[in-house]
Symmetry: C2
Subunit: 329 residues, 2 copies
């Protein structure tokens, strides 16, 4: 390996990632032109990707570099979770301005490593470039699945379930934007989102999941994706949607609900399962993973998403998901 600042930074980053507990056996390990490895027998390759751009997805004033590394990795791994895939590893591409010291690469790598250890996934390579401006981190997650689950398999009669609770991470963003220090619970939700990899594989194996999506762009927009991809309509009971504990104290329930539905940044899973499959097993899921799972609606023939209020009548919601080029941010 050549000497030079570029390789010092690569070494600092990879060294800080450290051992991750992955048991992947590479045929050609990282450090060559490309990385090569075998997949488990009988499985498909599953590839998800997620880019984080400074001042678009995060601000330096909000986050420590460890959190930037952790979040970017979790976002890509969450795409694998949504397919019911096992995570094998990630490719991390970093573009940072030259004035950032080697210690920044170590801090980002430390966060990446923390997230990879939780997933038992390996750092498989990537690229490093100078940025003339913002920090950018592009993470590609590589996994495998015998039967990858798409968004497109929801069938009329299925039930809709949701892992976790919504709105904590978006509350941190709203607080930062208002120059407030977020509640530690919402800060943590933003800094250390969990990719629900093990949870998803259990759900696929035990409940016969028909469609699944991660709702990182907000439940409102992502539910619409499931409806469109599956060619069905979804009825979602807004009174059943589990709000993050700190949102339950809001006097204005609609404000809390809109943040939970449209705020995004929650790496939870929305899934459809055959009717009756979930009720018996929800307690077992919660005991096993320490994460709630809630039935929030059902699938019927038709199209689009219908939101239902207190009395089961249609309810207007003011949340349409995150569009990076839209007017919302």
């Amino acid at each position: 390996m050549r000497q030079g600042a570029e390789f010092d930074r690569i070494r600092a980053f990879a060294g800080a990632v450290g051992a991750t507990g992955s048991d992947i056996q590479t045929v050609v390990p990282p450090g060559d032109d490309a990385v090569a490895f075998r997949l488990p027998e009988g499985t498909s390759v599953v590839l998800g990707t997620d880019v984080s751009v400074e001042d678009v997805h995060f601000r330096r004033a909000w986050l420590r570099w460890e959190a930037v590394g952790y979040r970017s990795t979790a976002a890509a791994l969450s795409d694998l979770a949504a397919m019911g895939a096992e995570a094998l590893g990630v490719l991390d591409t970093l573009a940072l301005p030259p004035e950032l010291e080697t210690s920044v690469y170590e801090s980002i790598g430390s966060g990446v490593g923390e997230c990879l250890r939780a997933a038992e996934a390996a750092l498989l390579g990537g690229d490093l470039a100078q940025s003339p401006g913002p920090v950018m981190i592009d993470v590609v997650a590589i996994g495998s699945a015998e039967r990858p689950v798409s968004r497109g398999g929801a069938r009329p009669g299925d039930e809709l379930w949701l892992t976790g609770s919504l709105g904590a991470a978006a509350t941190a963003v709203a607080d930062w934007q208002a120059a407030l220090e977020p509640d530690p619970r919402s800060r943590r939700a933003f800094e250390r989102p969990a990719a629900r990899l093990q949870e998803a594989r259990w759900l696929v194996a035990e409940l016969g999941v028909t469609a699944m999506i991660d709702i990182s762009d907000g439940l409102a927009g992502d539910a619409a994706h499931v409806a469109a991809a599956s060619g069905v309509a979804l009825d979602i009971d807004t009174t059943a949607i589990p709000l993050a504990e700190l949102l339950t104290h809001y006097a204005n329930r609609d404000l809390a609900l809109n943040r939970a539905l449209g705020g995004g940044e929650d790496y939870e899973l929305l899934l459809s399962v055959p009717a009756g499959k979930g009720d018996d097993r929800a307690r077992e899921f919660e005991n096993r993973f320490g994460v709630p799972i809630t039935r929030i609606g059902q699938v019927r023939e038709g199209e689009g998403v219908r939101w239902l209020g207190e009395d089961g009548s249609p309810k207007q919601i003011d949340a349409d998901g995150f569009d990076h080029f839209g007017p919302r941010r």
Copy 2:
């Protein structure tokens, strides 16, 4: 799919990429949380990645957007070529400032599609984000190989061969930096580098290649990588190195040579083959692919790269490869 400016841009980009002639059968097609597909029986996954950053790797004043798309794709595919892999597809992540119109996405996509058609590889997904500053394109190339070729297999006694000729693309960069309009041949070499995918697979199958690398960072630096990874020394005859035709007119042969060795941007292949394997087949390779292949040296026990001049004696060269954070640019 939701309406909105983000999806308009994704559609414009993917539409302009168009059909690529890939026969990949996806299990879950692009547009879901992640893409899923099967590999050919008995092969490894091979993953290469290459990021292009505006004002670091290219300037808008130099290139049309089509060329930005083409180059970024060729760079990632070239990593697969260096492993002797077959290209299956790419993930393209784009971060562009919001003032760039949808037509820019179409132009970039058109260049990406042109390059993918040459490789018969598919657009398998990616991500799109706003950039507060420079344009960034991160391309991950996905391929498969029964026996991926690393940099680490060169053995004493092997011969070193090089595809193509060197220095044309770096001459375009030097001209632009001097505010000169490049010769059309060097402009084309920079804008439309070829990923030597088919050539590499033929070489692996027919010549028993022991090590291979793409020399996008310059022959000087990349030859050193092969020596270090293989634990051998390389002797390279500088008088045998094929210079781009426009460099052969330079009065100062050392300037031409240093540009060819250190300029980078040539996506040619350096490979080692068992002694005698190449001589019989070089003509056949050139006839088949319309690309020269030249024996430039040999492998011996030891370490590092020794450059040899006219009389076979050691020659000092002033080229050490491209370091994005180094002093050279």
